[in-house]
């Protein structure tokens, strides 16, 4: 049972890191950022490329995270910024961007899966009958560190305060002289870097391919809905709940239906608590 829960926490941390990036962008700009999966793909390929060129894994990982941030900001500057007053266009633009980014990866690296090696591939942590591979432990640690850093940014800094304000009332924030464009770019930068963290952390357990993030993106959107749109801590809680539910379902019913448990829970939550697990009286990113 504990082993199942630990595996669920691993999945939950992955979902949370991806979902927080989605909810941050949604909170600030009200965009369903499907292109986030493409950002994760390019970040993973960048990590693989840099490592393949002979650089240490840490350098490759930092390059991947930086690439995630840069590509994400590019999507905002080149596309989303121009449709800010046309929210109905956002889903189509987001899907178009996802296809573009995936095809860039396909063009550059081909459709063949690549494996990402890490210094902790062979590490196996054991405690009281529970074992945890190094790559999964690394993902949990990276998720906790990155989400903790995000919490500090949002709660302790002027930039984070402004971002929360923009998420709650964009017009009121503009009246105070808060530069909107900078806030949008910052939200996409943070979301992209979190996507990079997710890519670096979970690529070693899967394979790097142009479609590696599709399933994770779907689960992350479930998490965003579960946690309440625009709520960072709702996304963290939703991620952990979804991860554990999928883990339990896979262990005690059938792993073939692992994702189905998450969607079944989504349907139940939407019927019972349409506002998500953490219902808020105002949109927020904290």
């Amino acid at each position: 049972m504990i082993q199942v829960l630990v595996n669920g926490v691993f999945l939950g941390c992955l979902f949370a890191v991806v979902a927080v990036g989605l909810t941050l962008v949604y909170g600030v700009m009200e965009v369903p950022n499907f292109a986030h999966a493409g950002v994760i793909v390019l970040a993973a390929y960048t990590t693989w490329s840099v490592e393949h060129a002979g650089a240490p894994f840490v350098v490759a990982a930092l390059a991947g995270i930086a690439c995630g941030g840069a590509v994400s900001v590019l999507t905002e500057v080149l596309a989303y910024r121009w449709i800010i007053t046309k929210p109905a266009a956002a889903p189509a633009v987001a899907l178009g961007l996802l296809l573009i980014l995936q095809n860039v990866a396909l063009r550059l690296y081909g459709g063949e899966g690549r494996s990402l090696d890490t210094p902790y591939d062979t590490v196996l942590l054991k405690a009281g009958g529970v074992s945890l591979p190094g790559v999964k432990a690394a993902l949990i640690v990276l998720a906790v560190l990155s989400l903790g850093a995000l919490h500090l940014l949002l709660s302790r800094t002027s930039l984070g305060r402004a971002m929360r304000a923009v998420a709650q009332d964009r017009d009121a924030a503009a009246m105070l002289g808060i530069p909107m464009r900078r806030q949008y770019a910052l939200a996409f930068l943070i979301a992209g870097m979190l996507g990079g963290v997710a890519a670096v952390a979970y690529a070693p357990t899967f394979q790097v391919s142009p479609y590696m993030a599709d399933d994770v993106l779907l689960s992350a959107f479930v998490v965003v809905v579960l946690g309440g749109l625009g709520s960072v801590w709702g996304a963290v809680a939703g991620g952990l709940v979804l991860g554990v539910v999928e883990g339990l379902g896979a262990a005690y019913v059938s792993s073939a239906y692992q994702s189905a448990f998450g969607f079944l829970m989504l349907v139940l939550i939407l019927v019972l608590r349409p506002g998500g697990l953490r219902t808020t009286d105002a949109r927020r990113v904290a």
Binding site: S158, Q168, M175, L176, G177, I178, A282
Partner: protein
């Protein structure tokens, strides 16, 4: 009622301001001034263009024509953030606080763009003026009463240490007692030398605070002058202000 001094140099000079949303012109060739230490009223019926004029001064709506000069300097081309840092603050209609954020966070947002030390010093000065805010700094702003929220909105505007405050319906939704308190607060701020441009439907508050006023109708200035003279004009009084009760 305050008296106007003819020698006061205007802090704000708006000339020929025109604001349009697509084919709809909301404000047409509005010209007005506001002087330090005085409260200048903008009066008019709903939809006359009062709020749009304030937003136009701060560059928050598309200006089709006209100039805005602040402290004798043409600031028409400046973005809102630069105008706020230059010394113009807006206290918007319905307060527009961030309800789930703390009172302190709301206040600090008023000094966005300034360094940590400056923000802290201004926060301390705000707490000296609004002592009750210090004890409730960590509370979500949404928990406060309407009058308290209005005080926080004004305090937030003052966090930028402005020389001009644009006030949009500060008495809206408040009890008579709260309106009196807000009136006293605004009179104190003006007495400190701050210029204020006040959009207000409450005649008593206008009479108490404003020396001069502009009357807007369909986006144009149709009358201006000392408030007492404007209120003596039955056409202005009945059409735009209602009877002073």
């Amino acid at each position: 009622m305050p008296e106007t001094s003819p020698v006061l140099k205007p802090v704000l000079e708006v000339s020929g301001l025109t604001v349009a949303f697509g084919a709809t012109t909301a404000v047409r060739e509005v010209s007005l001034t506001a002087a330090a230490g005085t409260v200048t009223g903008i009066l008019g019926a709903n939809g006359a263009g009062k709020t749009t004029t304030l937003l136009g001064v701060l560059g928050l709506v598309p200006r089709r024509a006209g100039t805005v000069a602040f402290d004798g300097r043409d600031v028409t081309a400046l973005e809102t953030g630069a105008l706020v840092r230059a010394g113009i603050a807006l206290c918007p209609e319905n307060r527009r606080l961030f309800p789930s954020m703390s009172i302190e966070d709301n206040l600090l947002l008023g000094a966005y763009g300034h360094g940590r030390k400056v923000r802290r010093a201004r926060l301390d000065r705000t707490y000296e003026r609004f002592a009750w805010l210090r004890d409730r700094a960590a509370e979500p702003a949404g928990r406060l009463s309407g009058g308290q929220q209005q005080a926080v909105a004004i305090a937030r505007a003052l966090m930028s240490e402005p020389r001009l405050v644009l006030l949009d319906e500060p008495s809206s939704g408040l009890s008579p007692v709260a309106v009196d308190e807000i009136g006293e607060l605004l009179a104190g701020i003006a007495a400190d030398g701050t210029a204020m441009l006040l959009v207000e439907q409450n005649v008593k508050l206008v009479q108490r605070l404003c020396s001069t006023a502009y009357v807007l109708s369909h986006g144009r200035v149709t009358a201006s002058g000392p408030v007492a003279d404007l209120l003596r004009d039955d056409a202005v009084s009945d059409a735009y202000l209602g009877k002073a009760g």
